[in-house]
């Protein structure tokens, strides 16, 4: 099964952030960058599924030239090649633009004979949290779509490259898949025909670390390049705001085990100690 995984370069925030001069974006010049957490799991799921079905994994990102780092990081853990859709400032695009651009690239590749049986993405990106590029992409391609998926199991049909027949819905020839995700009442199991779009939720697999040979391979990996068109819909953002700084109001009960009694007093007051 040939799988395309769409990933996003996001700033690695753990502490305080600041805004840039325009006030419409964060200043990420001093921040590291990473891949969204759900998408790291999507890459891992793709690698496992492709290995089990004798297929190939391609990673795609829409982002600045530097986003090639995230593509190479995915190749270092087992993806085969990458596609960079270069856009200097991806924040000018709305999710509907991004879905449309990815859809166009998928159609273009299908015309060139490189089809995909399955497209994976993360549920939502760590920065924007929009939760919709995968769903919009599926509608654009006419494929079924699932979100919140944590595990995949190919149940029939698809050998590697069967999506290459064209890209539009050649469903049943492309095989079928069982997908599992956490629903409100437990693990939900879905069965669906390929090709399909699946948005992945962290938690079902542990992303692996790159090996030394993986890193070497990543340096040489083939990265196909596209240039993003002008934004269509555009981002409706008017500006960004930071939450007000709140002064710490902590009551330090003490240091070490001697403070245990005061803590138990607090817990008794709240009324959470089982009698």
């Amino acid at each position: 099964m040939d799988i395309l995984v769409c990933i996003k370069r996001v700033p690695d925030i753990s502490g305080q952030i600041t805004l840039d001069d325009s006030g419409t974006d964060i200043d990420d010049s001093g921040l590291g960058h990473t891949t969204s957490a759900h998408e790291e799991c999507a890459v891992e799921l793709a690698i496992q599924t492709a290995a089990a079905t004798g297929g190939k994994v391609t990673v795609l990102t829409l982002g600045p030239a530097e986003a090639v780092e995230q593509l190479r990081a995915a190749v270092a853990v087992g993806a085969h090649d990458g596609i960079l859709i270069e856009a200097e400032d991806p924040s000018v695009f709305a999710p509907e633009d991004i879905a449309q651009i990815i859809g166009d690239v998928i159609r273009d590749l299908a015309e060139q004979g490189q089809g995909f049986d399955l497209v994976l993405l993360g549920n939502d990106a760590a920065d924007t949290g929009d939760f919709q590029v995968g769903i919009r992409l599926a509608y654009d391609l006419g494929y079924p779509v699932l979100t919140g998926v944590q595990a995949l199991n190919a149940t029939g049909g698809a050998g590697g490259g069967s999506g290459s027949s064209g890209g539009s819905t050649g469903a049943s020839e492309a095989g079928a898949l069982e997908a599992r995700g956490i629903g409100p009442a437990g693990t939900e199991i879905f069965s669906l025909d390929l090709p399909a779009v699946i948005a992945v939720q962290e938690g079902g697999v542990d992303p692996r670390y790159p090996s030394i040979t993986g890193r070497m391979k990543a340096k040489r990996a083939r990265i196909a390049e596209y240039v993003a068109p002008e934004p269509g819909t555009g981002n409706p953002r008017l500006g960004l705001e930071l939450p007000p700084e709140t002064a710490s109001a902590v009551t330090v009960l003490g240091e070490g085990p001697d403070a245990a009694g005061s803590l138990v007093d607090v817990l008794e007051e709240i009324g959470v100690i089982r009698s």
Partner: protein, 350 residues
């Protein structure tokens, strides 16, 4: 008028997150109506008008006039009463064999059938709410604002970067599609309404059933309800030190009849299952007390505990965000401190 998609839990009660969403819709009705380009005040019993304002039921209280809800599947008496006390105008109840098993496109299409009557459609920002609103937005050709926390004269404000920043935006379509971030408001009862129940039995297209749930397996390992419903949660982070270092925190969980919640480092290292993870990519919890042991307080972790009433930190680093953000803190090694807390509880019990 705003239409709110409401989720119920396995006991038939309205989910807390949905109660938040209904409250958000009611308390922000004027701002939402202005943004949707429709007047917020209508005389009681007014018939359907232009501008997306739907007909209002007679006899419902003034406050509840702006909010209708959609319930798909079983509608219990208990849920009906809760919705009345939350001040809703009408309940759209969707019942169809095709909607019994969850399929996002089919459920979204059901909402789309009544969406043109409304100016705003919203759901809580749960995975299901997010998924449905995204389908609704595509099917109605609209944009979406996810994780909204406020609506006012300047437009919508939504959380981005896991809550580290807020984005201000305006949706410009005919229908506003939103999801409401967890804890954007506290569920608030109001003068009870007597909502009219409108039953719908939509026809579902075969194509919309391609992604129907085929079965649900309930296993203890992925049941997060204990964590999300516990009154006391003891959080454990990297500071625990190893997979074998959880004895003290688990004993404290037991003394409190609560639940264990962990940071992503802990699940990433494989010390505990992901179902116990609290945060942006884990569960969002609302306990009376959260005791964070050896957790630094990264923004993605804090995103999951905003709803905790009292926050207690046990950490060796008094400068850590968790200590700075806590109500109470003890500075020290968590094994020693939690061990002493357990002993104290045992002693007081006698």
């Amino acid at each position: 008028m705003t239409l709110v998609f409401v989720e119920t839990d396995e006991t038939g009660q309205v989910a807390l997150t949905s109660a938040e969403a209904v409250t958000f819709a009611r308390t922000n009705a004027a701002a939402l109506a202005r943004m949707a380009g429709s007047p917020s005040e209508q005389p009681s019993g007014a018939s359907a008008t232009s501008g997306g304002v739907a007909q209002r039921p007679e006899g419902s209280s003034e406050e509840g006039l702006g909010v209708d809800v959609a319930v798909i599947g079983a509608l219990t008496d208990a849920a009906g009463e809760q919705l009345a006390s939350l001040g809703v105008g009408r309940i759209h109840h969707f019942e169809s064999a095709d909607l019994e098993a969850y399929s996002a496109p089919a459920w979204a299409q059901a909402l789309v059938e009544i969406a043109p009557e409304t100016g705003t459609v919203l759901a809580s920002g749960t995975p299901r709410g997010m998924e449905l609103m995204a389908h609704v937005a595509v099917r109605t050709g609209e944009r979406i604002a996810a994780n909204v926390v406020a609506a006012d004269d300047e437009g919508l404000l939504r959380q981005v970067l896991g809550g580290a920043a807020f984005e201000r935006l305006n949706l410009d379509g005919d229908l506003q599609v939103l999801t409401i971030a967890g804890h954007a408001c506290t569920p608030e009862e109001t003068t009870p309404t007597s909502p009219e129940v409108l039953t719908h039995s939509p026809e579902v297209a075969a194509e919309d059933l391609r992604t129907r749930v085929v079965r649900t397996e309930v296993e203890a390992a992925d049941d997060t309800s204990g964590l999300t419903q516990a009154r006391a949660v003891v959080g454990a982070g990297r500071g625990v030190g190893s997979q074998d270092g959880f004895d003290e925190v688990l004993e404290l969980v037991d003394h409190l009849g609560g639940a264990l919640g962990v940071s992503r480092v802990v699940t990433g290292l494989g010390w505990r299952p992901h179902a116990e993870q609290v945060g942006q990519t884990g569960s969002r919890i609302t306990p009376d007390v959260y005791i964070a042991c050896g957790i630094s307080g990264a923004i993605q972790h804090m995103a999951g505990i905003e709803g905790a009433k009292t926050l207690i930190a046990i950490n060796t680093d008094e400068e850590s965000t968790m200590v700075q953000r806590a109500d109470y803190a003890i500075i020290g090694d968590l094994h020693e401190v939690v061990g002493a807390v357990n002993e104290e509880i045992r002693n007081r019990r006698g």
